[in-house]
């Protein structure tokens, strides 16, 4: 769709000579450029890979603070323990539910807002400013803000609903498993939507207007234009946005920590919160490290599977 004629003097794209030429040039140009990546690779190794390796090492140790005989090599014992623990299974289910719902909601809402912004309707500037502002709020501040909004005795949500006569009394939104989980998802999605908006809005602005004009001349309605013009153009950006949202949602912590501490019961205990509690509240560092490793593996598997499922460049 975006292919253009090659500049004069160069072979047509895809010809063997062209491929060989481009490969040779890439090697010459890329070698010094790749060296520029070394500092960032070193930093990634030091601050990301090394901690991961260390956590994997911890997961093979018996590290229960205060427990007699703790401190030795445990092999796979921590993994056997956490895989047989019903609380871990429940946290895993909660994590998946939380991630699926928040990513789906953020993607749909983000797409809607991005389309609205792209329409250049009155007030879209303010909407964009609002989206950026929400994105700029630190996660812990966002969580604290929602804690006030949901407060059962003086929360603004209750105040609003009562003043609109939609309910006659203040409700404890975080006191039942169903309402707590969805309240947490809503608060988290609110923070996630601006990211999707910004990514998709940038992609929408890159769609050439003449494609829409051509489609309109061919009799395509709004839905057809969206389906056959807009979506193919923004699909790569959408894929990246979803990917990031999945990864972030799988490791969401702040919102749970502040709003529910995993309750009521274990209803909102996700794996990241479970890991935190296991390590730093209960002192079972080995089991916590094992859960963290499993969460990393699950996230990697989901990400890899999703990436593999995406169409390759040049594909349909």
């Amino acid at each position: 769709m975006n292919s253009q004629a090659p500049p004069a003097g160069l072979p047509a794209s895809g010809a063997p000579a062209d491929v060989a030429f481009r490969r040779a040039r890439r090697v010459r140009l890329d070698t010094p450029l790749r060296l520029l990546n070394v500092p960032s690779l070193v930093l990634i190794a030091a601050f990301t890979l090394a901690p991961i390796v260390y956590v994997a090492y911890l997961s093979t140790l018996d590290l229960r603070i205060g427990a007699p005989g703790s401190g030795g090599f445990a092999g796979w014992a921590n993994y056997r323990f956490v895989l047989s623990d019903g609380a871990v299974a429940a946290a895993f289910r909660n994590t998946l539910y939380f991630a699926v719902l928040s990513v789906a909601a953020a993607t749909l809402a983000g797409l809607g807002v991005a389309l609205l912004l792209d329409s250049d309707a009155p007030g879209t500037g303010l909407l964009m400013a609002g989206a950026v502002l929400a994105w700029g709020i630190p996660e812990i501040v966002n969580a604290s803000m929602w804690q006030w909004i949901y407060n059962p005795t003086f929360g603004s949500l209750n105040g609003l609903l009562v003043s609109l006569h939609l309910t006659d009394r203040y409700r404890a939104w975080l006191s039942t498993p169903v309402s707590a989980m969805h309240a947490v998802i809503f608060a988290y999605t609110w923070k996630l939507v601006p990211f999707v908006v910004i990514i998709l809005y940038a992609a929408l602005r890159s769609v050439p207007l003449d494609y829409y004009e051509s489609a309109a001349l061919d009799g395509a309605g709004p839905w057809a234009r969206f389906r056959y013009v807009t979506m193919p153009f923004i699909a790569p950006a959408l894929a990246v946005a979803v990917l990031f949202c999945v990864v972030w949602s799988m490791r969401a912590f702040d919102i749970i920590y502040v709003l529910t501490s995993g309750g009521p019961g274990q209803a909102t205990t996700v794996l990241s919160y479970f890991t935190f509690a296991k390590a730093f509240q209960f002192g079972d560092l080995g089991a916590a490290a094992a859960v963290a490793c499993l969460l990393t593996l699950v996230t990697l598997a989901l990400t890899f599977g999703y990436w593999r499922a995406l169409p390759q460049e040049g594909g349909s």
């Binding site: 229960r64 603070i65 205060g66 427990a67 007699p68 323990f81 609380a87 407060n151 059962p152 005795t153 009394r169 203040y170 409700r171 404890a172 975080l174 006191s175 039942t176 498993p177 529910t260 501490s261 995993g262 309750g263 009521p264 019961g265 274990q266 935190f276 509690a277 296991k278 390590a279 730093f280 509240q281 209960f282 002192g283 079972d284 560092l285």
Partner: protein, 436 residues
């Protein structure tokens, strides 16, 4: 004429300063005046200005010691300390909650052998001494000790025709029904039952203690007394006498809610009735009408303590002990300086016998309607948490969080009491086996 300020001049000056500092060091600068020992003191965020005043007083009396206070928010305190400890971050003295003492005993300094410790132990209230002792060793001096009490809105009770707070659980229910039926409160009873932090299980502990029993027996089964307490408690939710919003409230936020004046009773720690909370004339709608009463039934209750501990890795343990002795015990004259001051400034009760006899302490308690003799009797007879639940097992904090979740389910009727009790017992046995 002044020398013109140039980069060269600045560098020269800087070089001279560094050289002078180095020379002074070589000549033994420390020899001129001994540097005071610096103690790093970690606290959670309760009345830090008061704590700083104590530090200032201590430093004035002990010029060879300087104390640097570091404040950690209460809800992050335990994880942060564990992180600091794991990372070998140096600190000397810290607040310790009795519920975490077993885990932290591996790196806290036993205090029994220090000068004056034996004499202080002689004066300690049983609840304080037992809460600070693990496997026969004393790991702290009391920051405060407290107990669970019935905190009630006297105006609301009188409005419903009751001249005195309930003395039995049945009477408590009847009073709540009357208050509700007269429209004085939609839900007269308020309980702190948030899943994290001390709350729900502590209330059960207080109820079990008030009936003269425990929550878990030696075999880690839930006792009949605990079951009776749970059944009564659940019944108050079923009747709409207890506010279900309490599930989101920890002790602090439930005390704040009580201050709004919509509730008749709350079972929580005694200091929430103090002038900093329900009897705060500026912030509380129940100022002057909030009173303390013993728990119903046998009037026994659960007690606990918070303590000052010393990091065994401290390089200044002798100085740290002097500081802890001042903060959690007596000054050089044998006076309980901070225990008395905490009563007046924070409504925090003491860990030593006889403090209530101090005229200032007694007057402070009376100023908000507390009877010093009754407070003393409750403290003297308070049952330590470790006599009600396996409070000093290293796995206790994990059990408590899990049990709090199950308790929430029981209270709102999602889990029957018997099934919830079995879940408590099963979890305790599972953890005990893991930490055997």
């Amino acid at each position: 004429m002044a020398e013109r300020l140039t980069r060269r001049a600045v560098l020269k000056g800087l070089g001279g300063t560094v050289a002078a500092a180095g020379t002074a060091g070589l000549l033994g600068g420390r020899g001129f005046a001994a540097e005071p020992a610096r103690l790093k003191f970690i606290v959670w965020n309760y009345q830090v200005q008061t704590v700083q005043q104590f530090i200032n007083q201590f430093e004035a009396a002990n010029p060879d010691i300087k104390v640097d206070m570091e404040v950690i928010p209460g809800n992050e305190y335990i994880p942060k300390i564990q992180l600091m400890q794991n990372a070998r971050t140096p600190f000397d003295v810290l607040y310790v909650a009795d519920g975490i003492l077993a885990q932290w005993s591996t790196w806290l300094q036993p205090l029994d052998a220090y000068d004056g410790a034996a004499a202080l132990k002689q004066q300690m209230l049983p609840v304080a001494l037992r809460s600070m002792t693990y496997k026969g060793r004393l790991y702290g001096l009391p920051y405060f000790s407290s107990y669970f009490a019935l905190i009630y809105n006297d105006r609301m009770l009188r409005g419903a025709g009751f001249a005195a707070p309930p003395k039995t659980y049945e009477e408590w229910t009847e009073q709540a029904r009357a208050i509700k039926s007269k429209g004085l409160s939609k839900t007269p009873m308020l309980w702190p039952v948030k899943i994290s932090g001390w709350g729900g299980i502590w209330v059960v502990n207080a109820m079990a203690a008030s009936r003269g029993g425990r929550v878990l027996d030696d075999s880690l089964n839930v006792t009949p007394v605990a079951l009776a307490s749970l059944r009564w408690w659940v019944s108050t939710y079923k009747e709409g006498l207890s506010d279900p919003n309490g599930i989101e409230l920890d002790p602090n936020t439930s005390a704040t809610a009580f201050m709004g004046g919509d509730y008749a009773t709350m079972l929580s720690t005694s200091f929430f009735a103090g002038p900093q909370w329900a009897n705060d004339k500026d912030k509380s709608k129940v100022y002057g009408v909030t009173k303390l009463a013993p728990t119903p039934a046998l009037h026994r209750t659960a007690g606990f303590a918070r303590l000052y501990g010393i990091n065994a890795a401290s390089a200044h343990k002798a100085e740290a002990w002097r500081f802890v002795k001042y903060m959690g015990g007596t000054d050089k004259n044998g006076t309980y300086v901070t225990p008395k001051a905490w009563v007046t400034s924070g409504a925090l009760t003491w860990g030593y016998r006889g403090v209530e006899k101090d005229p200032t302490v007694a007057a402070s308690l009376r100023s908000w309607g507390a009877d010093p003799a009754q407070v003393e009797a409750n403290l003297e007879n308070a049952v330590p948490m470790s006599a009600i639940v396996p409070f000093q097992a290293v796995w206790y904090s994990e059990w408590e969080q899990d049990a709090n979740g199950v308790l929430q389910d029981m209270l709102v009727g999602r889990t029957p009491v018997e099934q919830g009790a079995q879940a408590w017992s099963a979890k305790a046995k599972e953890l005990a086996a893991r930490y055997k």
